[in-house]
Amino acid sequence: MDFILSVPAIVVGLFAAAVLAYLLTKANKILGALITVLGSGAALAAMLMLKGDINSVQSLGALGFKLTDYGWFFSVLMLLIFFSVSFFNLYWMKKIIHPAAYNFLYLVALAGTVGAFTAKDFIGLFIFWETIVWASMFIIPFGKSRNASVVYYAFSAFGSLSMLFGILYLYSKTGSFDIQYVLEQASMNTTYALVAFITIGIAGLVKIGVFPFHLWLPKAHGNAPDTFSPILSGGLVKAGGFAAFLAVIVMPSYKVFASNALFLGRELAMPVPNYILVFLGAVSIVVGTLMAIKSEDFKKLIAYSSVANGGYIIIGIAIADSLSVGGAFMHMFAHALASAAAFLSAAAVVHRTGTTKMSELGGLIHRMPLTYLVYLIAIISMAGIPPMSGFISKWMLFQSMIGKGMVFTAAAAFFGSIGSFLYVFRPLSAVFLGQLSPKHESVKEAPFLMQVPMIGLSLLTLLFGVFPNIVLRFISDILKTAGLDGLTLNGLVISGTNGQLNPSLVSLIFGIGFFIALIIFIIHPKSRKVDLMDTYTASEFIYTPELLHYSYAFYAPFERLYENAPSTEKWYAALIKKIEEAGQLVSYTFFNNKPRIIVFWMVCAVIALLWGGSL
């Protein structure tokens, strides 16, 4: 195995490219951005070439790397997203306050991602994991909010430090950092397994943004620079799925905690800890959906939808049978592509119009038809409608949920699935359809190099929606190495527990249906083209397009039903307020510059010391 083409080489190369990008950006901004394109592209190519080297082990100093098959899967996905998004960097150099730092951190985050997914040891995993956190923590404030970065860091730190706790605890018990070995050892002892499950699980939940840790997603994704939101939502969030996969499947929690507990006379479908994950996933589906429906901001809306989709992923992993985990992997894949594409189209809109507030936009389909199509394909996939890849994963997850008879979880999932129609339609309607505002009359389509990744991601979404078995075969192999059964794939057909699906056939029939409709359309008289403002207004004369555009508080009647519901955001805000107040209390009590009071405290403390010590 030569070092030139190996995982450590990719990681080191990306770090080197990051430094190079920093220096070049100082000279020429576009050149620096180009390095991000080339760097991530080269890394993607290298990683694809490494497919044959799965299970190879290398090391870089004290850091070990092991290319597992699921690590490869995640790495390729991340590299794909980073590569696609990097094209947008070319156009964002002028809009970002620190372009050089941005390019540098972009590639550092990528290096961290690859490193985290291919680390052999837990400690390497943690190092790279934190590297992603601090790299993105500096990029986020380049966008609209400084506070968002603090929120992001606080949540991420909570997750990753929880993981660190688990890692070190297990190290002190097993004497090793090796992921495979440690998890194997942990699985033999319920206490260790529980610690591993909770700590690594929390890291995953925080990263993927599952309730109650979902708050950072809308904050960070909604306010990050427009080019970085797709990275966060499409890419980095999926690292949470990786951690959850480690805790639930690789360990594997579903065997360790297996019990024969009965509930209403029926054996539980999975151990109680897994049920907790499922419960959190279900809650986050509902919360994410409701909050997404409520959002007035394009990016915030997609961010909340990531919360809901994170819920599906967690549920899929926690159910831990081959269909559900396969579905979760497929969902990560599909959602990564779709949400990256959706955020990219949002970025394209921002690039041309400068706003993400949906009520200020409208009718952009007449100016940016391609961006519209990209967004359309992305949301079709996100809502789980054929023939896009999101449908496949949702189908698999539903199969599994119903097969296990999980009524309440499935109810939440159904709600999220139907609710997703609501929220994905909203930007479609408010941003792209409806009346074109006069101030956007001269808006142009996104520039060519921005179109390239958008089209690429859309085509991939479509391709893997029509022929999902390309991915599912690999996922099946992952499941087999993880000790689950493989998926039942037969040619183009996927078999579930209670039915089978032929996505290619569905797509074909949809094509035929569309073709018939097209013929019906063509043979009938041609329609008269009229202006957008020439609409039915009960014959009233209206000349202001903005007034004819229905976009603000779109689902007002529905929102009213839950406007007084308890809010996690308020809870966190109150928590922070309380901590600050406690801090002020400490400050006023002990640091008030009145010697007599401090002497009083000192005397109290000495007495306490003596009394306590002499007990």
């Binding site: 004290a62 850091l63 306050i97 506070n147 070190l168 640091f591 405290w601 000192m602 000495v606 010391l609």
Partner: protein, 481 residues
């Protein structure tokens, strides 16, 4: 090895102080020479170090004479102290004028605090350094706070002296090693008898080490202090006191379980409360001073747990990064008339190099990987776990979330412009002043590179970097050069 360097570390600055009093005009040079000598001497001592040396002043054998101890621990201490002291003095040399004598005395006293092997001597050096600190804080032009410091400091040293007196009464000796030996052969249970003196010594040292609730002076003294005084107190003074604290805990503190618990409650309480207080603050220096208090609490807590090496790593990390952070914070505060966070948006836009230094130090402080702080943090946690301690890691990790939050808030605000909800734009940056940048830039860059290098190299070079003993590393790594 020439052991006389050990005493010269104290004697030369002291001499410089006397000379400065005599020839005021040349005070600057005397101070410079003393600092230079101390740097060189500690370098030579480290280079030649083979095994612990006990230097007896005047040739009187302990316990009768005064002895200075140079082992790995104090070697590390003097290296750290003299380097930090020198760097601070160079960075903030414009404030040195008129204070050369005090600084020289402080240097001597701090070296003494670290090196001394004698309890009473420790008290003396502590007192001298504290007096130097009182005088230095008069630079802040707010006598009320200095007075406050003076009252509390005196009270603290009184308690310390009282504690030492009780010890002397019990063991008839002031030499630490001698007391240790005598403890071993004593017939009654030591721990029970030591409650009073230990509590008194703990309290006395806590005043200087800034543990809650004994550190009421810190906020007033530090929140408006300049880059010389503030930085010296949060890094150099704090390092020396904590090292002395560590040595006493290591050698003298034979604690009953309940006393250990009480001490731990005080230190861990300091850690938690000070971090929370730092979180609630909006001014750079105030944030940093509370952070410094919290770190002191952590270091003492680790010493109490018997984790000397981990405590030293945290101490080093804290001293170096606080030096950078506080210098810059004070500098920014002085030059712009405010160190309020929201008035300093985008201050690093025009001062990128300083910004990088600040960032590296801040990230090291919160223990992010690829910075030295992570190595320290990992060591702390590993050794705590190996000592079967679960709850302290939990506290440390939860507290470091809070710590991270305020540090990140600081960093994001200082690097970026724009109101909340608006895009950060370079054009929005205010014109900030930062004078005398050259020296600052060079030193901070070097220190920042050192932090990053110390964060990355162990990962690549050492297989057990998460579990290494800094003291034996010092002898193996440096002594064997």
């Amino acid at each position: 090895m020439n052991t006389s360097f050990i005493i010269l570390l104290i004697a030369v600055p002291l001499g410089a102080a006397f000379l400065s009093v005599l020839v005021k005009k040349l005070g600057k040079y005397f101070l410079g020479a003393a600092i230079g000598f101390n740097l060189a001497a500690s370098g030579i001592l480290a280079y030649d170090y083979v095994s612990p040396v006990i230097y007896e002043i005047g040739g009187f054998k302990p316990p009768y004479g005064i002895s200075l101890v140079l082992d790995e621990y104090s070697l590390l201490g003097i290296l750290l102290l003299n380097v930090v002291f020198a760097l601070i003095a160079i960075m903030a040399c414009k404030y040195i004028k008129k204070y050369e004598v005090v600084l020289s005395v402080a240097l001597a006293a701090l070296n003494g605090v670290i090196l001394t092997g004698d309890l009473f001597n420790l008290f003396v050096f502590m007192e001298i350094s504290a007096i130097a600190a009182y005088i230095l804080t008069t630079m802040n032009k707010n006598i009320k706070y200095t007075f406050n410091y003076l009252v509390l400091g005196t009270l603290g040293s009184g308690l310390l002296l009282f504690g030492i007196a009780v010890i002397y009464n019990m063991f008839g000796s002031l030499n630490i090693m001698d007391i240790q030996n005598r403890m071993a052969i004593i017939s009654y249970p030591v721990a029970g008898a030591l409650v009073l003196p230990l509590a008194l010594i703990f309290t006395g040292l806590s005043v200087e080490a800034k543990l809650l609730p004994f550190s009421g002076w810190a906020r007033g003294v530090l929140k408006d202090s300049n880059s010389l005084v503030g930085t010296l107190i949060v890094s150099a003074f704090s390092a020396a006191v904590l090292l002395a604290f560590g040595r006493l805990i290591d050698s003298l503190f034979v604690m009953s379980d309940s006393l250990l618990i009480v001490f731990t409650v005080v230190t861990v309480g300091t850690l938690i409360l000070a971090e929370i207080a730092a979180f609630s603050k909006k001014n750079l220096r105030e944030i940093l001073l509370f952070s410094s208090i919290a770190q002191s609490g952590l270091v003492v807590a680790l010493f109490l747990q018997g984790l000397k090496s981990a405590a030293l790593l945290v101490l080093i990390n804290n001293v170096i990064s606080k030096m950078i952070l506080f210098t810059l914070a004070a500098k920014i505060g002085e030059d712009n008339g405010t160190d309020k966070l929201e008035d300093l948006k985008g201050v690093f836009l025009k001062n990128k190099v300083l910004g990088f230094g600040f960032t590296a130090a801040a990230m090291s402080l919160i223990g992010l990987p690829l910075f030295f702080g992570f190595i320290a943090k990992a060591n702390v946690l590993v050794s705590l776990f190996e000592a079967n301690n679960i709850w302290l890691p939990m506290v440390i990790l939860i507290v470091s979330v809070i710590e991270g939050a305020y540090v990140v808030r600081m960093l994001t605000t200082l690097w970026n412009t724009g109101e909340e909800g608006e895009l950060a734009k370079a054009e929005d940056a205010k014109q900030y002043k930062l004078t005398n940048k050259v020296r600052l830039t060079i030193i901070i860059t070097i220190a920042a590179i050192a932090i990053v290098a110390a964060g990355i190299l162990p990962l690549l070079q050492m297989n057990d970097w998460f579990n290494f003993d800094i003291l034996s590393f010092l002898t193996d790594g440096l002594g064997g050069v």
